[in-house]
């Protein structure tokens, strides 16, 4: 299954396999060296454990592009500024 590294905190990585509704909390050092936040992985899972993880560069790039396009769309769709009253 595919998974994405959502966050790494104090050496602990949280890998989401969102399509499967699953989350794995793992030692970041057990993941490939270039596995950082936002990287997509091809996972082999047995039971509740990840037994192997490989960086999927193509998917990582594709997803990162989509994510920055998403933020761009948010900015474009909204008027400059907040609807709430600015005091200062």
């Amino acid at each position: 299954m595919k998974g994405v590294i959502d966050r790494i905190e104090n050496g602990t990585a949280v890998v989401l396999a969102e399509k499967h509704g699953r989350e794995f909390v793992v030692d970041a050092e057990s993941l490939p060296e270039d596995a950082e936040e936002g990287v997509w992985l091809d996972l082999e899972v047995k039971g509740d454990k990840i037994v192997s993880a490989e960086v999927n560069k193509k998917e990582t790039e594709r997803r990162r592009d989509t994510a920055s396009r998403n933020v761009g769309e948010l900015k474009n769709a909204s008027d400059e500024g907040s609807v709430h009253d600015r005091v200062e």
Partner: protein, 360 residues
Amino acid sequence: MREEQLKRGVFVVALVGLVLVAGCVGPLAGESPDSSDPGTGISEDDNGDDEYYGGGSQGGAPSVSLSDVPGPDDTVYSSGGNSTPEGSESLNVHFIDVGQSDSTLIQGPESNILIDTGDWQGDEAISYLESEGIEEIDLMILTHLDADHIGQADRIIDELGVEEVWMSGQSRSTNTFGRLVDAVLENDVGYYEPRTGDVFSVGDMRIEVLHPDGVPSDTNDGIATRIVFGESEVLFTGDAGESAESDMLQTEMDVESDIYQVGHHGSSTSSMEEFVKSVNPDIAVYSAGEDNQYGHPDDVVINRLNDIGADVYGTPVHGTVVIEATPEEDISVSTERDASLVDSPPTLLPGNTLRRIAAP
């Protein structure tokens, strides 16, 4: 109002005995975090059940209250009472028990603000909002894009009315973030990226933006706000770490607050000593999961907060914590669950009446 306060004062005295008999209601003193080692092996987090902790924060929830607090040593505690009368002119801050995650509802007399939205695998935040009869969120602030902070944002936007959402300008390559963006666009929700120094008013609340001053490079870093309601203040820093905290101290904006949501679920990467001393809260609340794999909260942080005289509450211990604050800075705390202090290590502050009553 004054008369009510007085009546409540009488109630306080009457209930002191009850506190002794009924068990211990109150904040934590140096609670020991679960010391399970987050660094061993690979395991699956099974915290994903749709467990629902809500069910209303009032009506029988144990309650302690402090009135007119000049300093921690003069703190007067009471127990009991329904702290949120209908048509209240108070601010009600609901630290929703969303497990190892964050979601806080700030309910003003006219407007609602939601800061973070629980974990992607749960539904505690949206269930709680529905059970509280919240129909409209005037402002949703997503401190940063971790899936334990933006998790239920898309469903809340789809199912409740959300007028505007604030994000820092970061992006994340998760489906959870993609669904959030879709929900914002499909529902025509306003979008704004607040920056240090911005001040807005939302209903009777004043929102002061303390961070960031640009799109943050650290993924934990994000939007920090101080919400001011009359004389009462509440501070939210999300998962911001040491460097963001020192940035906040460098600005001209005031961080001092009555109520502090303990940064990063009580992790020792946040709540630096200089920072918490400047915030100088009377009440601190952390949101974390029971027996979580991250060791949150860190004992160092809890002790640091105790040392500056703050009463510390935590969602793994107390369940949902609701704090009512009046514009005159009268503050009372209601918790979903009684928290027994019997198992806590004896790091009680000499000035704290409640803890003395509660200790066996």
